[in-house]
């Protein structure tokens, strides 16, 4: 065999090396392409092994020193390659499919987190746990959520207090059907008044918000009562009788992500808890 051809063959073999499914052992170098995945990986105790995260991964605190590989929808493939990861963890909720395809072509091992609904999350966490060699920690995390999922609802279906979860006040964007927030509201016994809006995060009619008379309005992260934008929205919703204490609740971003803080987020919006908190604040 001529030598150049031989060289080429050896080179090709070397290149195809990482293509072999790396099931053999748990990956030592992991890149996370979504904030939720970063949070889960850290919650599973794998913080040391995470070598790259996205520019929007803001939690937990210990992750802040990690190398950034770009945004969720447009990560830099070169930056990912340079980190020589043994696994890239992605999600269908925010990472475009073509990124997964390209990483696959480059011979990267990837794991795609697919659950989008609350009830599917524990399964997804366990699956990820198996892939990264942290089955036990994943099981504990999943169990926490399952316990809440199995709690019998406080109200009969459709009879609970009416709620609206505000993602952004101007223009009014709310959590619609098919979102984790909608699932959490239903789980906590609420009726989401935007459940018929057709899309996940609809631009919602202020008029309808007023007319449907929500019993509770949740204000997503960054929109507490002191924010002028929120104030203007609340002013317009005054006729719905929202001046009553405990009916406007500022919450965090725990429910925005399919991450380990979901149980805390569900507890945060649960009726008794939030009303008591609001009363205590007064």
């Amino acid at each position: 065999m001529p030598r150049p051809l031989l060289r080429l063959l050896v080179f090709a073999l070397l290149l195809s090396g990482p293509c072999r499914p790396a099931w053999a052992g748990a990956p030592e170098r992991i890149v996370s392409l979504a904030p939720a995945m970063t949070e889960i990986l850290f919650a599973l105790g794998l913080g040391e092994k995470v070598v790259g995260i996205t520019s929007v991964c803001d939690r937990p605190e210990e992750a802040q020193g990690k190398t950034r590989v770009g945004g969720m929808s447009n990560p830099s493939l070169e930056a990912i390659l340079a980190l020589k990861p043994e696994l890239v963890v992605m999600t269908t909720d925010g990472n475009p499919k073509h990124i997964a395809d390209q990483l696959g072509r480059l011979g990267m091992a990837i794991h795609v987190f697919t659950p989008r609904r609350l009830s599917e999350i524990p399964g997804g966490i366990r699956e990820l746990g198996v892939r990264v060699g942290a089955e036990e920690a994943a099981d504990i995390l999943a169990r926490e959520l399952e316990t809440l999922l199995e709690t019998p609802p406080r109200f009969a279906a459709g009879e609970g207090p009416k709620a609206l979860f505000v993602i952004w006040p101007e223009p009014l964007i709310v959590a619609g059907p098919g979102t984790l927030i909608d699932d959490a509201l239903t789980l906590a016994g609420y009726v989401n008044i935007a459940a018929d809006a057709g899309t996940a995060y609809p631009r919602f009619s202020v008029e309808e918000a007023l007319r449907r008379r929500p019993d509770v309005i949740f204000l997503g992260l960054g929109h507490d009562r002191d924010n002028p934008r929120t104030q203007r929205l609340l002013q317009r919703l005054v006729p719905a009788g929202l001046d009553h204490p405990g009916r406007i609740v500022a919450v965090g971003d725990a429910l925005y992500r399919a991450g380990p803080r979901l149980p805390a987020g569900i507890i945060e919006i649960s009726p008794g808890q939030s009303l008591e908190k609001e009363r205590a604040a007064r």
Binding site: W168, L172, S205, L210, R212, P228
Partner: protein
């Protein structure tokens, strides 16, 4: 006869705008209103309709002015890089929110006006504002602004910035009474200035030499008309972001209806633009309720086919 036609058109537009108030996710019956309906009307629909009317009117009128000033039927209020300036100022305001606690409409207005001033500076020749230079300056500046905006959006991890851009793309649902007095003064001021220069606008479309022959100073007329259009568009942007197509579409429809004499066409462009946006907004909030379709989308959906049809049928220029 033409005067009656103009007054009739304005009155019809005003009636249409008023009628649009009663359409929404649910119909309001003006004869039988309960407390809730009254609240919705006063608190939400009336300010919304007023903002839509002012905004649409400002865009229609400044579209008409700019098409005359540039002698170009494709000119539109946003051609001056103005929406880009407004969005950029708003975005910067949000990024520097801590040190610069200014309300969004104010930032947008300042940004739009700043863009106009820059375009005017770029468009100055030895003999005053020149349409070709203004046009090139505006388009170039517009591209620059959107590039910077894109850069900011790529670099910023703040979700709020993206939502602000969403607001800039036209949101009438946040309208409230507080915005209206400022917008009203600026827009009516701009309209009055343009109407006072109505003869100048007419002769500018004849070309600079003839305008000069008729005793006008073309550079001066262009300057005043440019200021009027800028004021109105900047105020419109600050009221509810940018809504495309009104400024392009309405002047053409109006010329079709009452002729091109600006002393008739300018008021009709104002009222017509207002009515169109009111109508589009009421459709946008009704069609897929409780989901809201942005008014700009409705305007383009109705307007584009009509526009193409008329152009094919008539093939008339400016």
């Amino acid at each position: 006869m033409k005067r009656t036609r103009m007054l009739f058109a304005c009155a019809a537009a005003l009636l249409l705008a008023l009628a649009s108030v009663f359409f929404g996710p649910r119909l309001l019956n003006p004869l039988a209103m309960d407390a809730e309906a009254r609240q919705i009307l006063l608190l939400l629909r009336l300010p919304r309709a007023a903002v839509a009317f002012l905004m649409g009117g400002a865009l229609g009128a400044s579209g008409f002015i700019l098409q005359g000033v540039f002698r170009n039927p494709l000119a539109d209020p946003y051609i001056l890089g103005l929406s880009g300036g407004a969005s950029l100022a708003a975005a910067l305001g949000i990024l520097l929110a801590g040190s610069l606690p200014l309300p969004l409409p104010f930032l947008a207005f300042a940004g739009a006006l700043g863009a106009c001033a820059l375009v005017a500076a770029l468009g100055r020749g030895p003999e005053g504002l020149r349409p070709d230079r203004l046009l090139l300056g505006g388009i170039g500046l517009g591209f620059f602004f959107s590039a910077v905006l894109l850069l900011l959006m790529t670099l910023a991890s703040d979700g709020g910035l993206k939502r602000t851009i969403l607001w800039m793309s036209g949101d009438l649902s946040s309208a409230n009474w507080e915005l209206i007095p400022g917008g009203l003064v600026l827009i009516l001021g701009g309209l009055a200035l343009a109407l006072a220069r109505g003869q100048g606008l007419n002769v500018l479309s004849l070309g600079d030499d003839i305008a000069h022959g008729l005793g006008f100073n073309p550079g001066r007329e262009r300057f005043f008309l440019f200021v009027a259009a800028s004021l109105m568009t900047a105020a419109a942007v600050s009221l509810g972001g940018t809504v495309g197509f009104v400024g392009l579409l309405v002047p053409h429809a109006v010329r079709h209806l009452v002729g091109a004499d600006s002393r008739r066409a300018l008021p009709v462009s104002f009222f017509g633009g207002g009515a169109l946006l009111c109508l589009a907004d009421s459709l946008g909030r009704s069609l897929a309720a409780p989901l809201e379709i942005p008014a700009g989308v409705i305007v383009a959906l109705i307007g584009a086919p009509w526009f193409i049809l008329v152009l094919r049928k008539k093939g008339y220029g400016l």
